[in-house]
């Protein structure tokens, strides 16, 4: 029988992600482009996901779009919110996960899910960028480092300092003043990670707080944030292989289910 393929595309505020799965729910290919909605990111991720696979839209039975830019994906057959997609995606990657914290470019979501990946309840950040991926980007720029260097710096912190979690702009001026006082960049970085987690905990504590806990989204690639979360909760945090792809995986699974499980 001919192979059947399903495409999930997650266009966020900071990056675009795509995943192809087949009729056996196996991941065939994934792609991440560090450009989000309103840029060439969505087009690039589609070019990239099909590259070297011999596949094109003609081979895709159904496409589901998710993420902040989901409604601009004209080729998608269906749009599903990133809340449902993260829940579905993490259920595929980490079956035991019941509490999901997703920190994306401009959203933070805390989601309680059940054993089949159904959303039981969810809470999101208010109209403020503190505690999001954008916050980390701003901080990395002030520190003069690349965003992926933060976790290494965090590891070497000896006397972490406190950084405000109330507001990105205030935190920025705090960091500038810490730098001018010659505070070690490693200690500031740890403070920044703690600050993100403090903000996320306010959302997380509203959920059912059921184990296992998992962190998804682009920020989950930063082990400094994972360690900060583990310290704050005193629990092990499970992270999927490619945490940034969870939303796109969930979207692909929804596409799969729409065809394979409902005919």
């Amino acid at each position: 029988m001919k192979d059947r393929y399903y495409l999930g595309v997650d266009v966020g505020s900071a990056s675009s992600k795509a995943v192809i799965i087949n009729q056996n729910k196996e991941i065939i290919k994934t792609s991440v482009i560090q450009m989000g909605t309103g840029t060439s990111g969505p087009k690039s991720v589609i070019d990239d996901i099909f590259a070297d696979t011999g596949l094109s839209f003609e081979n895709i039975k159904l496409t589901v779009g998710t993420g902040y830019g989901r409604n601009s994906l004209k080729f998608a057959d269906k749009q599903i919110s990133e809340i449902s997609c993260h829940a579905k995606g993490i259920n595929y990657e980490l079956k035991k996960a019941r509490t999901v914290l997703d920190i994306g470019g401009q959203d933070v979501k805390a989601i309680s899910i059940n054993e089949s990946g159904m959303v039981l309840n969810f809470y999101m950040n208010d109209k403020c960028a503190a505690g999001t991926g954008r916050f980390l980007e701003v901080m990395a720029r002030i520190l003069g480092v690349k965003i992926d260097e933060l976790e290494k710096l965090d590891e070497n912190a000896k006397n972490p300092v406190a950084v405000s979690s109330t507001c990105t702009v205030f935190a920025e001026s705090e960091v500038i003043s810490l730098l001018s006082q010659e505070t070690k960049i490693e200690d500031i970085t740890r403070g920044i990670h703690n600050s993100i987690v403090t903000r996320a905990l306010a959302l997380l504590y509203k959920t059912n707080m059921e184990e296992d806990f998992t962190l998804t989204g682009g920020v989950a690639q930063n082990k400094g944030v994972i360690r900060a979360l583990e310290r704050a909760l005193n629990k092990k945090i499970y992270v999927a292989n490619k945490p940034q792809l969870i939303g796109a995986i969930g979207a692909a699974i929804f596409a799969y289910e729409a065809v394979e499980e409902r005919g």
């Binding site: 902040y68 409604n71 919110s81 449902s84 159904m118 959303v119 208010d126 109209k127």
Partner: protein, 406 residues
């Protein structure tokens, strides 16, 4: 002769009456008659009896916000020193008052007295006090204690009843004429009947599909707020009721051009600056707001002439209830209106609503197993809302409702 008649639709009546109410206030002002600014669930029966033209800043602030005219007044109030986390209605109204106080003919005439009842909100006390101070006019307060317990206490009712008698005395002094008890009796009857007609029409939302979208109800609310003491208000709601009953008999749904697939309860005040957006996102998902606290908000039932019962009615308002009272009220609405999901407007303007919502939401989720989403917004300040955040949350809520229905 009335300016509305039975051949008109309720919507036509609504538009005519809302315009007329404002026009009457402008005429009264021009003739040197008294104009009163009043909070939305204050006892209008008293000013109506005295023939004082009464208009409603909360309603007018909502109108300005919906027309996207609020920023000028919000910013002016903030420049005068009112912090931006004070209620948006208050800032718009205080900004409006200050900007317009030197002008002669304005759309919403300035008051000669103000009347407030803090059964819906505590900010009103300082808001109206400042108006009275700035304009050097009388301030009439009906102070209603918060109901911390399950029942409205006898002491509270008597305390409010005594103030109602005093209100009569104060109005006699301000107007320099005796209070006409016969007319008062008549006005009380009209107001009480109007409240019943409002409830009877809007509670038809419980039909499946609902013949009325909650967002249309928001528009009709202007009448129960502004003209509760006038007969035409009841005529309109009776007409609305007849129209809705006809729609029910035909199985027609209140969503314009969409099928009702989901029924939600809306918790909190409308997000007036984005009324259309908040409506359309729900409508596009087939979600109809069939439940809200508004149908019962003006259900002020009392025997005309009985000030004790009247005091009790004004003291027992939804917003003035304990946490348990507020939660039970919503449980009843969810059941009655057959809602399967809840949208909570985390309204920056109204701290009273917001702070209760967390606990109310938790209790509703636990006891009714109903999915809930919240969104950041404001009843009047457009700066506190994000379209994309609202869309994501509504979509996720509808997805949760769909999954649970499977």
């Amino acid at each position: 002769m009335s300016i509305i008649n039975e051949n008109m639709t309720s919507k036509e009546m609504l538009d005519i009456l809302v315009d007329k109410n404002m026009e009457d206030a402008r005429k009264a002002k021009a003739k040197g008659e008294l104009v009163c600014w009043s909070s939305s669930i204050a006892p209008c029966e008293f000013t109506e009896t005295m023939g004082i033209c009464t208009i409603y800043p909360e309603n007018y602030a909502a109108v300005l916000a919906a027309k996207k005219l609020a920023p000028e007044f919000l910013e002016h109030a903030e420049r005068k020193g009112y912090a931006n986390d004070i209620c948006g209605y208050a800032r718009i109204n205080l900004g409006y008052m200050d900007l317009k106080k030197e002008l002669d003919e304005i759309e919403f005439p300035l008051p000669d007295l103000v009347l407030l009842c803090n059964n819906i909100c505590e900010t009103l006390l300082k808001w109206y006090e400042n108006i009275a101070y700035e304009l050097n006019i009388p301030l009439l307060i009906v102070d209603v204690p918060f109901n911390h317990g399950d029942e409205v206490t006898e002491e509270n009712i008597k305390y409010v009843e005594a103030q109602l008698y005093d209100l009569i005395h104060q109005l006699e002094l301000i107007c320099n004429k005796p209070f006409d008890m016969d007319k008062f009796q008549e006005v009380m009857k009209i107001a009480s009947n109007n409240a019943t007609s409002w409830y009877e029409a809007t509670s038809l939302c419980s039909a499946v599909p609902s013949p009325l979208s909650g967002f249309d109800m928001f528009n009709y609310m202007a009448l129960i707020v502004c003209m509760r003491g006038k007969k035409e208000c009841g005529t309109t709601f009776k007409k609305l009721k007849a129209e809705l009953e006809e729609k029910i008999s035909k199985g027609e749904c209140g969503l314009r051009g969409a099928e009702e697939k989901h029924r939600i309860m809306w918790d909190g005040i409308a997000c007036w600056p984005y009324l259309s957006h908040t409506y359309k996102v729900l409508k596009n998902k087939g979600a109809n707001m069939t439940g809200s606290t508004y149908p019962s908000a003006w259900a002020l039932e009392y025997t005309p002439g009985n000030l004790y019962e009247m005091a009790k009615a004004y003291t027992s308002m939804g917003n003035n209830l304990s946490l348990k009272g507020q939660t039970d009220l919503r449980k009843g609405i969810i059941k009655e209106a057959k809602c399967k999901g809840v949208v909570m407007h985390l309204n920056r303007s109204c701290k009273m609503c917001d702070f209760l919502q967390y606990e109310i939401g938790k209790e509703l989720e636990e006891s009714m197993d109903i999915p809930i989403t919240t969104f950041d917004g404001d009843q009047a300040d457009p700066r506190n809302y994000s379209k994309a955040q609202y869309e994501t949350r509504i979509e996720a809520l509808v997805e949760m409702m769909e999954q649970r229905a499977q």
